[in-house]
């Protein structure tokens, strides 16, 4: 069947590209291949009837993770080569058994693959899951899209803690840099006119698309995290184009942006306890509360992901004076 042929070609290509990501000796190229793999995975999600995941993968999995990795890959090649040489000269037992590590690792990885294959073949082929349960209860959830009803009602607690993970990562990045805002982070020294142009037209478009994804999430694929990721991508682009973006925010505003969603869940949870349980909002107001919570997710996800980008690529705060001397072309 042609249908099946598409899947086989796609699956094969993903496996080959993943392998190339590993083999590619040049770090930068490897990262580009990783992004390509993410985009191909998005196609796989579409084939598997998971458009929400396809959007999230393209925006977060391939997009933002990829740009984080690419920025990390921009290191002095010569410095790395020297470090590699130093390491090769001094690394204990590996000197006596060159390649032993690789053989053991390959054997372990193959063993894992074999065991996983057995487990996967053993899985029952018929549906065993919560599709039915979700379909029955969806009416009471306040939204008409099953994934949103799980994320923001049935399992809203998990989503809250997930927002917490994102927040903690940002707090961790700030703590590592020993700072409370990102003003000392590196801004781009030489930006090009075309990038500035793109940043200017992208921002309003990104707001439009994010708004659309956010709004449509209640009844069709899309949703708050995807919308937030789109906005974050626009913020990152602005940063690359030399605008200040999130690194222009003061300590208080950055903190408020990072915290907004987590705090909103906390407040909604607290109010829910008067009606029954923590995070309870299944009745008439359900949809409104979900929309409000999703709006906070959009804002916090956008700010946090952009802040993670600014923080992960930045030099430490020590040379902040030098950074400040290179004033950006404009601040927003």
């Amino acid at each position: 069947m042609l249908e099946h042929g598409v899947d086989i070609v796609l699956a094969g290509s993903i496996a080959v590209v993943a392998w190339r990501v590993l083999l590619e000796p040049q770090l930068f190229r490897s990262m580009v291949l990783f992004i390509a793999m993410g985009l191909m995975l998005s196609l796989a999600w579409v084939r598997l009837a998971a458009p929400d995941i396809a959007l999230a993968e393209a925006a977060i999995g391939a997009g933002l993770t990829g740009i984080l990795l690419i920025r990390a890959a921009q290191t002095e090649a010569a410095q790395e080569a020297a470090a590699a040489a130093r390491e090769a000269a001094t690394s204990g037992w590996r000197r006596w058994f060159p390649g032993a590590g690789r053989i053991v690792s390959a054997a372990a990885a193959l063993a894992f693959a074999a065991v996983l294959l057995v487990a996967v073949i053993d899985l029952p082929g018929e549906p065993i899951g919560l599709t039915e349960a979700a379909a029955t209860e969806m009416e009471a959830s306040g939204v008409e899209h099953p994934v949103t009803s799980v994320l923001l009602n049935f399992r809203a607690y998990d989503t809250w803690l997930e927002v917490g993970v994102l927040l903690l990562a940002a707090m961790g990045v700030l703590a590592i840099h020993r700072t409370y805002n990102l003003r000392s982070t590196r801004s781009e020294e030489h930006t090009m006119l075309v990038l500035t142009w793109l940043a200017r037209i992208i921002l309003p478009l990104a707001v439009l698309i994010a708004g659309y994804l956010y709004w449509s999430g209640t009844h069709q694929p899309g949703g708050a995290f995807q919308a937030g990721a789109i906005l974050a991508a626009a913020l990152v682009l602005m940063q690359l184009a030399g605008f200040r973006g999130v690194s222009g925010l003061s300590t208080l505003w950055l903190g408020a942006g990072l915290m907004l969603s987590f705090a909103a869940f906390l407040a909604v949870g607290f109010i829910g306890t008067f009606e029954g349980e923590f995070l309870r909002y299944r009745h008439a107001t359900g949809e409104l509360i979900i929309l409000a919570l999703e709006l906070t997710i959009v804002v916090s996800t956008a700010v946090t992901l952009a802040a993670l980008f600014a923080g992960a690529g930045s030099q430490s705060g020590d040379d902040s004076d030098a950074v400040r001397a290179r004033t950006p072309p404009e601040s927003l």
Binding site: F34, M37, A113, V120, G129
Partner: protein, 103 residues
């Protein structure tokens, strides 16, 4: 071979590729990439299971799990890269010395 089995098998393959990369590569950035490939493998299996469970729509619970997983993965990745950057600032290399753990 059903679509579910095909993608579930791909998950097993990706898992092994990522794991091998995680073990063998010494550069921290590449280790993080290896972990992200492993993550993709896990997500693939979950989505394949959701596809297997589809009725009027695919099983939304694994979908929600994968969305959470993607956000968690990008968080951990960003933290790891920030650490890698600071380690490079402090030590001049983005690798971990191999024999430190036994000292």
């Amino acid at each position: 071979m059903s679509t579910f089995e095909l993608y579930a098998a791909l998950a097993a393959v990706l898992f092994a590729v990522g794991l091998y990369g995680f073990f063998v590569r010494q550069e921290l950035v590449r280790k993080v990439v290896g972990l992200n490939i492993i993550g993709a493998a896990v997500f693939l299996l979950l989505i394949a299971i959701a596809y297997r469970n589809r009725g009027d729509f695919a099983d939304p619970v694994p979908h929600a799990m994968v969305l959470t997983g993607i956000v968690v993965a990008v968080s951990a990745t960003a933290l790891a890269l920030a650490l890698a950057r600071r380690i490079e600032d402090e030590t001049g290399t983005r690798r971990l010395p191999e024999d430190e753990e036994s000292s």
